[in-house]
Each structure stands twice: as C-alpha cells, then as structure tokens.
Symmetry: C2
Subunit: 463 residues, 2 copies
C-alpha cells in the first residue's frame, strides 16, 4: 500500500479521553474512531489488524477440528426465557423491541441459540463429539464503557460450544480448547497465562481465564513465576489425543496462577518466596465446562448407546478478538508508539523514501515495493512528500516491525537501511539483501503451521 | 472435510414455510436455520459460501483501489438527525434505547457515519480521491420478512462511499464501481445486468441497479436481449483510467435495460421486436452518485485548490452479500438441488465412497483426499456408512460442481468416476487423472486474477 492512496489519519496530539496507552495509541495511529460511547469504527489500519487476529483464530479453531458457522447479532428473547437467563441478566443486556412488538436482544453470548440449533438437528450420540463456533459482534451495555476497545460495548468475539455424550468427553473438549488457545495467543506474540477463575453468569465449576500480564490489566493476579517460563512453541499436536491434550493442560495449569476471585493465600504461600508474583492482567479469553446446565433447561438430548435420551455435556469457550488488539498494544509498545509482533502486524514492513521526487530514490523504493509484493509480503510505502522526521515518527507510531529507509546517500553506495522497530538496531545492506532478510523473517514464521494449513505458502489475509 | 466430522444437517422433506427455491434449498442443504422472523444462523456450509462471497467482494474492491474498514452495527441517532433522515426513515429502521436512555439504531446503511468520519479526519483536496468501504451486518425491520436470506431483516452487505472534489471525479468513481461490480458478479458465476433505476431514500439522480434474471425476482425488468451477450471476461483494467472505466460504463449501460420504476415504453418500443425482453430480476447491488447531499447537510468540506472550503461530491455503492447466496441458487439449481458455480462452491469437489469399510475403497478415498488437499483444494469426503443412493442425493442437494465416486468395481480396473453436477456427465479415469483434471479446472479459474492479487497461488479462504 502506498500511503498517498491510503487512509491513515494519525493524530499529533494525545487525545484527552484516552486513559490507557492502547486506547491512546489506537486513536493516534488512526486505527479507530469512536462513534458513540463504547462503540467504535475500525479505520483501515485497525481493521487490518482485527482481520489478522480473526484469521489466526479461525485457523487455530479449524486445526483443532472445531467447525465455523455464524449466528446473528440479534436474538429472540424467547430462548433466553427458556434458560431462565432473560430475567437473570442485568441491564448489561441490550433489550430491543421490534416493530411487531416482539422482545429481542443484542446477543452478549450464544449458549441458548447454539443449544437450540443443536437440539433441532442432532438426535444421536453417533453425531458427537461436535464443537461449533463463530466469530461475531456482540453487545454488552456497560454502565461506563472505557479504555477504548478494551471495554467497549459493541465487541468482536469468538465463542465456541462443545457437545459431548459424557463428562469425560467434554473435559477432553475443554483441554483441546486450552491447547488451541495457547497456540492462538502465541501466534499473536502474546503470553496468555491460563488461570483458575470464577464462572460468573455462564455457570459451571471448571473454568480458566487466559490473562496477559500488563500494568493496566483489570484483574489482580497471583502466580508462580515458573508459569511464565512455559511456551507452547512448535509442538505437533494431535487434537484427537486425549492424552496429549491432558498433558498440556497439566503442564500449563499445575503451577499456581489465579485471579483474585479464586486466589488462595495459603496455597500461594507454599510457593518459594522468590517465585511468588503479584501483578495485573488483561483477560483475553475464557473456557468453561458447565455440564448439562443448558441441555437440561432446554431439552437438548441425544439418543445414547442404550437407546435412552441423554442430555449432552457442554462447555463454552471465548476469545475477545477486538479486545486482543488493545491487549497486544498494552503488552508491546514504547514511548514512540506501537510495536507489532510479526504475527499480527498490519503490514510486514515500512518503506521510507527520504527524498520523494528524487528519480533514483523513487525508483529504488518502487523496486523494493515490487520485490516484496512479488514474494507475497505487504509493504506500506510512505511516498508522501514530507520530511524524514515526520515519516519516521509515523512509522514508529504505527509500529510496523521492520522499516527500510531509502535515501540518495545510501543508494550511492548501493545500500538501504533496515531497522528493527523493537530494538532500534539498523544495518546497511543492498536492497535485494533487505528483501531477502524480511522474507526470511516472515517465511520462518509461516513455514510450519501456515503452509501445512493452507496447502501453499501465502502471507496474505486477502484484505 | 470428512462428513463424519462435519455438521451438515440436511433435511429430507421440503420445509413448508419456504415459498421460493433458494429458501427451500438452503434449508434442505443445512445452510441456514431461522432463529427469528427474518433472522438466520448460517450453518457451516452456508457460512462457508457467505465467506467466499465476502472474500471475492474484498478482493475486487481492493483491486479497484477502495479501502476496507469496518463500521459498527449500532449507531447514534444524533448523526441521523443531522442529515434529516432519522425522522424521514420509516418503521423499517430498528430504533433502540440504551440503558442511559440514548436513542440508538441498528444501521440500515452508513452514509451519515462515513460522512462524519470523513469530516473529522480529512481537510484538504490533496487527500482526495478517497473511497472507503466495509462489509457489515445491517438491519431492516421488514414488515413481512420472507424468501429466506433474500429478504431477511439482519443482512450482510458491502457498502462503499466515495469522496471526490468534483462531480467529474465522482462520476469516475461511479464508473469504477460499476466496473468492479461487473467483475465481482462474474467471478461468482452470475450475470448481473446494470439497469437504470430509482434512487429511493438514498437520494441523487444517477443510479444503477444490478439485476440477476430469475423467475422469482421481485422486480419486473425490461431489456434489449443484446445486453445479455455482454461479458466482462478477462480484461485488464486500469481503475485509475477515466477513459477505460467510462468505456465499460458505456458498453454495459447504453443498451436498454430498466426496472419498472424507470421503464419508458416509448424507448423500449424502439428496440427491434425480436430483441425486446420482459422478465423478472433479483437486485444484488446498486450504485449511486448523489453529489453534495450529505456533505452539505453535515458540513463535510475540504479546502479546495483555491483555499476555499468546498463540499465533497459523494456516492454510495452496495452489494447484498447474504442476499447473493440466495440469488446464486435461484439462478443455478435443478430439481435435485443446488449447482454451485466453481467460483463460490463451498468445497471444490465431493468424494463418495461406495463401500465404506472396504479396505481398498477407503484407502483410495484417503489418497484422493490427500492429493487434492496437498494441491490446496478442499474436498468434502462422504465417509459415512450409508447407502450409495443417500450419498448421491446429499451430494446433488448440496451442489458441489464435481464429484469423484470410488467403488471396489472401478478400483479393480484402476479407475474412479468423475461427474459434473451441472451436466451430469461422467467419465471413468485413474484417480490421479481425476485429481489433475479438478486442479486444472480450478487452476484456470484462479490463474489470472487470483494469483496476481495474492502474489501466490492459493485456493483457500482460510475457513
């Protein structure tokens, strides 16, 4: 993309309304614009990141064998009356009356609707196990929406639902979700720690929240520092393997890590003192097993192997996709702006032309742009007629991990400059070497799972 | 995808509520489920088609130089009061009051919001031309929702908005959209004819609707049969070229083609009688030029070259993405079920195992599945333990364009059967030849635009 043809309305000033760094940087980098309290438009740069996260979530869910579909944003109140949650849910549920005077609501979650779909279409234990999920806009009418997309009212969320014949099968689904979530967050450059949590209005006993450590987190968390040494890495997982999933569950949840809701000071004190940590965390996902709560209430049974109607065991599993954009920025920025992890960056590298209009510099930038594009990479080329300082400031603010700087002086020596946004380190090298280096960085990232998944090598997310 | 691991709840019976064939077939093929009047869940097969259409629209919009973003579903009433449309819009607008008693609405369209974004961020004619678009769920509280996704209440739509300094520039944007739409529909296997139309509540003089001819269409249309001979084909278009876009506009809109709203019997009678056609059409898109209607009302000006504030010229342009799924089926089906055009099919081919459990047949199906997947194609393998008749009926119903049938008798002679859903023609050939043939069919389709666009060869839509 050439900046002169893009829509990137960066702000010079810090917006007064933004209390936390991700909100401030998303506004300043031209990623979002508030349309009403807690309701945002995703401007092109923000939308591109959101879409990348959505694609990563889809890829990892499909890899785990979960099936994508899409439920609508508006729901009939009737289903919620069946489960008993219509009256139980507080004023955070946005209630709507349509022109026929029917009670509707903007879905905050979809347990009722998916259970209704299940009971309408599935009749036999032979059709189990089944996990359906969707990524859809939801609404929670927060009293005080704030922190930008971190606590918005209209938010984008993946929610998935497993249906199993037995508790044992459902707990495998629970573990499988935990594994797929660990992998998802790592691809986004995040460490999200599963912590034992409270189930709240969803119900059920077993639940883990995934928290990203950040000073601005809404939850106080307590953990054994050994949990932060765990990484998922490049493991090959057979998601059908009960043993493999259980082993990873155990590895990642045995060490102490809890939110303040479930914190147990006596247990915490058993950790060697040097490893005891108290910090703040941002919740970016949660998994639940709640057994037959909804299937009992709504009559979602299957014919079991014994021929008798058996209520299915269920769980639900969520990832806050729009909130993750904020969480990633909270976890990865400096005083100049955002620092995108390679896995989610909206553009793979920036190209800064120090002397726009100089025939040689323009030609070199065009050639770089072509070479990168031909490799399937997406550069963002700052081709504006502006001073170098302004171009650098914009690139630092929007946080692309790599920048190639092109100027007449370097070109005389046959070199351009390649700079890491994270470390600030620069090196001079011939343009074709810079291209090769960037292709390697992203190629390594994509070489394993991505290619396997796609059957081909592609960096693109279509838009 | 293996059918035993999928969720494809096909119905044997014709659902009583479905009055038109696309609604009936979408229900029977397990593509959608109604959750409330005019509100549907997209079950896995339906969602996969919807997502393919969304990706095609994105690709063609990006190709034309239009910039993707995303606006929220809910809007504040205030903006609509500014434009005067809050009161003007009838009961089809779903009005909502939030917990703070603020007037909100579920957006039926986004002229006001995009104009607000524009005026907040763009100040100079130097930032023009600019075209922003999004693909988002919208709501129209129809009195009598019907015909499935063809006239639903919650619907998925691409709407784009151009901002230009002059009427002349805006008319180029209009033509550019027409070109990109022609290309979009053709990739979906549709002939959508641009017809002079009425602008309705959007306003403006210049507008064309795109109509797909179908018996069940809601509009009566009148046209010169010569328009149906026009095809866009493989043309290379420079979307910046005013002349090229104008020439295509002229080519596709000069011959008589009008809806009943703008029909002129005197003009129609000038067509040679043998070429006069009256038919019905389904509206799948519309483009508008409405000048400064919204920029005047909402103060969206830029500093012109003369330094003076100048209201921008605008247009808006829509494609009904969810409605298109129905329109494609209306245009492409037979009495056995859907016939997907190759460009939008949810799976590239089906594999039917005539004798599940037979070691040789199972192995041959697995090998076919692997080979197709390795080429980046997505097969749907019916690996259920069911009779051949049931498997064929399901494949015919869900309409994959190609089917490979594998059975012990053919394998003895080293062949499988490759069948076209459209023609019903079958041929016997070795499995590797069948794979090659299918790869060629889709490879040719993708070879030009797709690869250019993606920088690589990929058939996948990620989910």
């Amino acid at each position: 993309m050439r900046l002169t043809r893009y829509f990137l309305p960066v702000l010079r000033e810090n917006p007064a309304e933004a209390q936390i760094v991700s909100h401030r940087l998303m506004l300043r980098a031209g990623m979002i614009k508030q349309n009403a309290a807690g309701i945002y438009s995703w401007l092109p740069l923000g939308f591109k990141v959101l879409r990348k996260l959505e694609n990563i979530v889809h890829e990892e869910q499909v890899r785990a064998g979960h099936i994508p579909m899409l439920m609508p944003t508006l729901q009939s109140a009737d289903l919620w009356r069946e489960s008993g949650r219509y009256d139980a849910y507080g004023p955070e549920m946005l209630r709507i009356r349509d022109r026929q005077d029917r009670d509707m609501l903007y879905g905050p979650t979809n347990e009722e609707m998916i259970t209704d779909i299940f009971r309408s279409h599935v009749g036999s234990y032979k059709d189990l196990p089944l996990t359906l999920y969707h990524i859809q806009w939801k609404f929670r009418d927060e009293m005080r929406p704030r922190f930008g997309v971190m606590r918005g009212r209209e938010f984008f969320m993946k929610d998935g639902y497993n249906f199993d014949l037995t508790k044992e099968d459902a707990l495998h689904a629970y573990n499988r979700h935990l594994v797929s979530y660990l992998r998802t967050y790592e691809r986004m450059g995040l460490q999200a720690i599963p912590m034992r949590a409270d189930s709240g209005p969803i119900g059920g006993d077993d639940t883990h929240e995934f928290l990203v450590l950040a000073e601005t987190g809404e939850s106080e968390v307590f953990y054994d520092s050994a949990v932060t040494d765990l990484t998922f890495g490049d493991r090959e997982i057979d998601y059908d393997s009960v043993e493999q999933c259980a082993a990873i569950m155990e590895e990642f949840t045995t060490k102490y890590a809890r939110t303040d809701e479930t914190h147990d000071p006596a247990l915490f004190d058993q950790i060697p003192e040097a490893r005891r940590r108290t910090a703040r965390g941002i919740e970016v996902g949660q998994i639940f097993y709640f057994g037959t709560k909804y299937s009992d209430a709504m009559g979602a049974t299957v014919q079991g192997p014994d021929g008798k109607p058996t209520p299915v065991h269920m769980g639900s599993h969520g990832i806050g996709v729009s909130r993750l954009v904020g969480a990633i920025i909270e976890a990865s920025h400096d005083d100049k702006g955002i620092i995108w992890p390679e896995g989610v960056t909206p553009y793979h590298c920036g190209i800064v032309n120090l002397k726009q209009g100089d025939a040689e510099a323009d030609a070199a930038c065009d050639a770089l742009y072509q070479s990168l594009t031909a490799l399937g990479l997406e550069p963002l080329y700052d081709d504006r007629d502006e001073r170098a300082g302004g171009k650098f400031a914009t690139m630092d603010l929007i946080g692309l991990p790599w920048r190639i700087t092109v100027g007449p002086r370097g070109l005389k020596n046959g070199v351009v400059e390649l700079t890491s946004r994270r470390t600030g380190d620069s090196q001079e090298l011939p343009p074709e070497e810079a291209v090769k280096k960037i292709a390697e960085i992203y190629g390594d990232m994509h070489s394993s799972e991505h290619v396997q998944m796609m059957g081909t090598r592609s960096f693109h997310t279509y838009i």
